[in-house]
């Protein structure tokens, strides 16, 4: 078991708490880590350090020292105190930065050691912390601070926006499945004895067995069949039909007529067929719903929260933290460094720079001084700002983008899944065949109506194949598991089917074709970098961050002052160092690039650092592969020159620059009007509406939350390879689905003449049902075996 491997690293190379780099001789990378390590020691939870295992995809558990505790009261629910019981307060929070079971254990134990905590439970699957405590003994804010000081980040979750509905539905399906499985197993036991004792068995014993079967089957079918009855009633009420109608008919009629047979001492009963059919169908339904639920990613949850906390400035000048959605126009809010602007407004005080990439996709920060308009969702980088709020909630630009997304969604052609398309033709066929069989046997075969009905039910059971219900969901589950192993998250259940039809590709530039973060270019002075990185570590400006990253997370220099729009100044022992723009450091600005930082030492010597947003390493190769599928073009919000340059480097001839979110949507609609099926790949908030408008869309996991939410598939890593890999898997999946459906239908159509002829006994029905289901499941599993043989190198990417 991996989690047992001791990964404690030598003191010199890594921080004792977060495992990050430290400078020589230090044991901790920062003050926050030292106090976290002390806290863990004081609580007696040192075991954590021995047993934890880092997940490289998660951020390091490095506490943010200057983090302001926000007011959580809006998310806390308190039980009404009943006589004799102490009142309890409850809170659910998403935990960011969970690496493994050790993190779960540490958080739970640390919280349980706080006075007043009743339960603390972290779910590793849903990354959610559920807390219950006595409000008299402690407060939500204090408990949150404990977890945050250990280096995790918490986002409160409103109780009503949880995935409760889906979870409850899954649970009830699982319950129905358990009941159907129990009934199917026991009925089969009884039926097999009836079949094997055929002829020898005394009629009295057979009737007893039938009566016991009826006793099990009728309540079980009544309970476990509810999902199908509900859906069937729903479509019938709207005058339509789907596969649930013949299924409901079969599972209601089969036990009813068998009960009649039992009453009259008949030989054949279909109790076991009804229960088995129901059991297999419920498996398919469960797998299908689970696949669909993936769509509700954690990104969606974060979005549903309606932004983070905002700091309100009251009239007497005091500060109060409130949820951003409670802000009102006309109020004043303070935006800390590193916080997002909570609502659209005008700057009244302070001078800073904003990371506007969420809105415009621009990688360079924008200046903001008194009088400037700022938009909700942009990130404050340099200095605190006071803003007067003009627009909140639905009136903000962020909400506009969301509306644009919703509009795009509603215009998108409703995609009909292959299974539903088949069901649409298949369901009437099933009804007609069963009805004709019934009438045929009465009028032509001169059978009593009960016998004719029994044969018609055999037709229904044979033609509503459980294999058909399993054909698509099983492949779906196998495929999404394979994609997940390759670092691709499938978010909507039918995305794979849509991905197969793609014949046109639209790409964003920044963050999609490029990595989306600035990196230091070769040709710098390593000694200068060591100093520049220490100075840069004090700033959140993207250029400074890139330099700090290149220097390898050194200990920040102090004291450093940041001059907005110019650069950083470090008052060291030997004099003033400056890191910043050409003008700030007194260099000649050659305007050759936006991305140059200069370091000026106290002696007046300067060193330059060139930075660039690198192209994804395999972009050109992947673009060439994608071009084989159809037309390919770039739609970017950036200026024409860099877009043209990049297009030329990756080998794309069609490009559009200066595209606003609405322009991108318009371009996609043009393509759709021309009959194209567009795959959109983008990452910025400005791409979100386009991602929704496209036939199918992908986004890197580095994308903005909203874009992750809008995309159908997410992929990890710096390479674009997952895009072609996903298309390849989608094509295999589609082929397997078709094979499965064909297999299921052929199998059942072959059995129809038998059923119509009245030759299908309950035994034949049971055998045909199980073998076709097993065949379909085995065929789906080929997706795993096949891919492993073809691409051993891509496994476990």
């Amino acid at each position: 078991m991996n989690a047992l491997i001791d990964i404690a690293v030598p003191v010199q190379s890594a921080c004792l708490h977060c495992g990050g780099p430290v400078s020589a001789g230090e044991r901790y990378c920062c003050v926050g880590c030292r106090s976290a390590h002390q806290l863990v020691g004081e609580l007696g939870l040192d075991q954590y350090y021995r047993q934890r295992q880092f997940d490289p995809a998660q951020r390091r558990p490095r506490p943010e020292v200057d983090r302001q505790g926000s007011d959580l009261s809006a998310w806390v629910t308190t039980d009404e105190s009943q006589a004799g019981r102490t009142p309890q307060a409850h809170l659910s929070m998403m935990v960011d930065g969970l690496h493994c079971g050790a993190c779960v254990w540490l958080i739970e134990q640390a919280l349980l050691r706080q006075p007043g905590v009743i339960t603390a439970r972290v779910s590793l699957s849903t990354r959610r912390l559920s807390l219950a405590w006595q409000p008299a003994a402690t407060s939500a804010e204090h408990l949150a601070t404990v977890v945050e000081s250990l280096g995790y980040r918490l986002v409160p979750v409103a109780p009503d926006c949880l995935r409760n509905r889906d979870e409850a539905e899954l649970k009830s399906l699982l319950q129905a499945m358990a009941v159907a499985g129990f009934a199917a197993g026991n009925l089969m036991l009884l039926s097999v004895s009836v079949w094997s004792g055929h002829g020898d068995m005394a009629p009295g014993t057979r009737d007893l067995f039938h009566w016991i079967s009826a006793l099990i089957a009728i309540p079980a079918v009544g309970y476990a069949g509810r999902p199908f009855f509900k859906s069937a009633l729903n479509v019938l009420r709207h005058g339509r039909t789907n596969m649930d109608v013949p299924i409901s008919l079969a599972i209601v009629l089969a036990p009813s007529i068998s009960l009649y047979e039992t009453f009259t001492g008949g030989e054949q009963a279909y109790f076991d067929s009804a229960a088995t059919l129901l059991f297999f169908l419920l498996i398919g339904r469960y797998l299908d719903l689970r696949a669909r639920r993936l769509a509700h990613s954690s990104a969606e949850q974060l979005m549903a929260l309606g932004g983070e906390a905002a700091t309100l400035i009251l009239e007497d000048g005091s500060l109060r933290d409130i949820p951003a959605r409670d802000l009102k126009a006309g109020q004043c809010a303070l935006v800390h460094v590193g916080a997002r602007i909570p609502a659209d407004g005008t700057v009244t005080q302070g001078e800073s720079q904003l990371d506007v990439s969420l809105i415009s996709g621009e990688s360079m920060p924008a200046k903001a001084g008194p009088g400037a308009h700022v938009y909700a969702g942009t990130l404050n980088l340099v200095a605190p700002l006071t803003i007067a709020i003009d627009k909140v909630g639905d009136a903000t630009l962020l909400a506009d983008i969301r509306r644009l997304m919703e509009a795009a969604e509603s215009r998108r052609n409703r995609f009909i899944r292959i299974a539903d398309r088949i069901a649409r033709y298949y369901a009437p066929f099933v009804h007609a065949t069963a009805l004709l069989t019934f009438l045929g046997w009465i009028t032509l075969g001169h059978l009593p109506w009960t016998s004719a009905l029994l044969i018609a039910i055999a037709v229904l059971i044979i033609t509503c194949p459980c294999a058909l219900a399993l054909a698509v969901p099983v492949v779906q589950v196998v495929a999404s598991h394979r994609l997940l192993k390759a670092g691709i998250l499938l978010k909507s259940a039918d995305a794979l089917e849509r991905l197969c039809q793609v014949d046109s590709i639209v790409l964003d530039k920044t963050g999609t074709l490029t990595v989306g973060r600035l990196e230091l270019q070769p040709g710098y002075d390593p000694q200068a970098l060591a100093i520049a990185a220490r100075i840069a570590a004090n700033s959140k400006h993207p250029l400074a961050r890139a330099v700090a990253r290149a220097g390898g997370d050194l200990v920040p220099a102090a004291p450093v002052t940041e001059i907005p729009g110019k650069g950083l100044e470090w008052a060291s022992a030997d004099g003033i160092w400056r890191l910043g723009s050409a003008a700030f450091t007194g260099q000649a600005d050659d305007h050759s690039s936006d991305h140059v930082l200069w370091l000026l030492d106290p002696g007046g010597k300067a060193a330059a650092f060139h930075l660039a947003d690198p192209i994804r390493p395999d972009a050109a190769a992947i673009v060439a592969e994608l071009a084989k599928l159809g037309s390919i073009e770039i739609c970017s919000g950036d200026r024409p020159a860099p877009v043209a340059h990049l297009a030329q480097r990756v080998g794309i001839s069609t490009w559009h620059a200066l595209q606003m979110p609405a322009d991108k949507v318009r371009r996609l609609e043009e393509l759709r009007a021309a009959g194209k099926h567009v795959l959109m790949i983008g990452d910025g908030l400005n791409d979100a509406p386009a991602l929704r408008a496209a036939h199918v869309s992908m986004a890197p996991t580095s994308a903005a939350d909203i874009s992750q939410n809008a995309a159908d598939l997410l992929f990890q890593g710096d390479a674009l390879r997952p895009v072609t890999l996903a298309i390849a898997i989608a094509k295999t999946t589609e082929r397997l689905m078709r094979q499965n459906l064909a297999l299921a239908i052929v199998y059942n159509v072959a059995a129809i003449p038998l059923a119509i002829g009245g030759a299908v006994t309950p035994l034949v029905a049971a055998i045909s049902m199980s073998t076709s289901s097993i065949l379909v499941v085995l065929n789906s599993l080929r997706l795993n075996a096949k891919r492993r043989r073809q691409n051993p190198s891509q496994e476990g990417a």
Binding site: L4, G101, R113, S123, K171, A178
Partner: protein, 53 residues
């Protein structure tokens, strides 16, 4: 064949107990966090932890 009169109810009762057990486990949330439960057993509960519930 009268043995069947004992055997069948016994078999059904045993099966029913298993079903009831599963439904209880489902209802009490034991299937909510399958990843976490697998890792949880690797950690000793410290002796001085306040009792849960």
């Amino acid at each position: 064949m009268t043995i069947l009169l004992y055997l069948i109810p016994t078999a059904l009762t045993l099966g029913g107990l298993a079903l009831a057990g599963f439904l209880w486990a489902l209802k009490s949330g034991q299937f909510d966090d399958l990843d976490g439960a697998a890792q949880r057993i690797l950690f000793d509960d410290p002796a001085d932890t306040p009792p849960k519930r």
